[in-house]
Assembly symmetry: C2
Homo-oligomer: 301 residues x 2
Amino acid sequence: MTSPHFTDRLLTAIDARRAPCTVALDPVYENLPAAVRESASPLDAIRRFAARVLTIIAPIVPSVKINSAYFERYYDEGVGLYHELVRAASALGLVVIGDVKRGDVGHTAEMYAKAQLARPDAPGVDASHTPDAVTISGYFGLDGAKPFIDTAVRDQRGLFVLVRTSNPSAAVIQDVPTVDGRKVHEIVAGEVARWAEDPRTMGARGYSCVGAVVATRNKEDAARIRGAMPRSIFLVPGYGAQGGTAEDFRPYFKADGTGAIIAAGRSVIFANERREYQGMTWEQAVEAACRAFAEDVGRLR
Amino acid sequence: MTSPHFTDRLLTAIDARRAPCTVALDPVYENLPAAVRESASPLDAIRRFAARVLTIIAPIVPSVKINSAYFERYYDEGVGLYHELVRAASALGLVVIGDVKRGDVGHTAEMYAKAQLARPDAPGVDASHTPDAVTISGYFGLDGAKPFIDTAVRDQRGLFVLVRTSNPSAAVIQDVPTVDGRKVHEIVAGEVARWAEDPRTMGARGYSCVGAVVATRNKEDAARIRGAMPRSIFLVPGYGAQGGTAEDFRPYFKADGTGAIIAAGRSVIFANERREYQGMTWEQAVEAACRAFAEDVGRLR
């Protein structure tokens, strides 16, 4: 029997699909294929589109990352759809990452952990109503992360703490050198690495349920963070955005080919907009782009 | 006619109530007065409780801060109640701060700004479906804040960027000294201060719609941040939590008595648990505690 620990489930799924990756489901109504946009309402169109994307990608990739913002944009109805898609993705066998980037302290952090990560305790609510893992802020230190860590340990779930983001202005704060010679994001990395050493968080394959979001485009920084966080799986966004290839993501992996999952979003879900997939239906384009993505990053294993 | 700029509305409301403060509405089912807990479901109990609290505090304080986590905990239904209470608070004349602490970059940040702060653009959805201002993360630098700033400028709303949080482990990251002599949170403060100098963001009374959450318990840090951020109103949580008084919050204010709003939560909304209010109904306890809070912080003006 497979261990139910989050990282063991994730690594098993990666092995089964031979691809250390996740598809980012960030649906924007205005970008949906025209045929789908003819649905009744924007939210219905997104529902149809997202449900189709899930069935297309589930046999190809191990995981999907569902981005809460794109659903919150439709208020409570959108949040209802978010949970519906989390359940649907889980039923299709995908490891589901809720990209929620919540962050707070104390009792509020506990509430966010309950809301976004914990196995639901309400009667009649399925365990897969919430995702296998979520993204959270690291700026608060351990107080902000602890409720998520405790929840992950108890409910066999995971978390990815924001260490270094990919946006241009990130450097203005995250790369500032501190007096001990490390950059600010390395201070955060060191903290998260310490949390990931907690034996309660450890899976059978040596990875903690405490992972990290690491998205620097600086290869030396990536290698340094990789070295500093041996127990954490990295969630690395940005594939396909700037026309790079899997090779650019090599520094996020350990020598044994484990330690990271690469996320691709628009380049897969809106593949029908790409020149190389013209002449296909939008579903065919998504499938072809997803296969190409999985194959490319599969080389990193 | 009053300027519709967020800070002008807030400052006018503070003057009218003679109290630079906000009540933090963080309802926890288990802590509700027994009489309210007899309602049908936890969410119904929270609805009844929160609606009553709003009517009690609206004549006393200028503002309410509604904490999204306590509603997200009930998934989409809870989010529906969050928006219902935002509208109710607004109808009662309260300046409404949505404590959502969202943070992301690029297109996702735009989606969060639409979801949480923007005047709704859907037909039939009231402008007060979203709050007057929200709290956001500052770790991403300007890329993360810009969609919120642009939205605030366009829709006359505001934002409070997390600069320094109050939790014990915050120091491990936020107080790390950088090579230019400033602590990490001062780097964030400097960035936010720069955004707040943007003339588009400025209200008639000299404050920008770009505010900050500042909650250090170190008075020297507070004074230093106050000096570094002349254009920002500070949202300062923590009143009543450690038994302090208004005087402890003096360093967050400018000499003219403007520049900050102090938040109190449990000590007001769960006042029925406090010894000094025994013998009152829970509503009387909330009213008495709210008046005492407003009067105490009123001395800072």
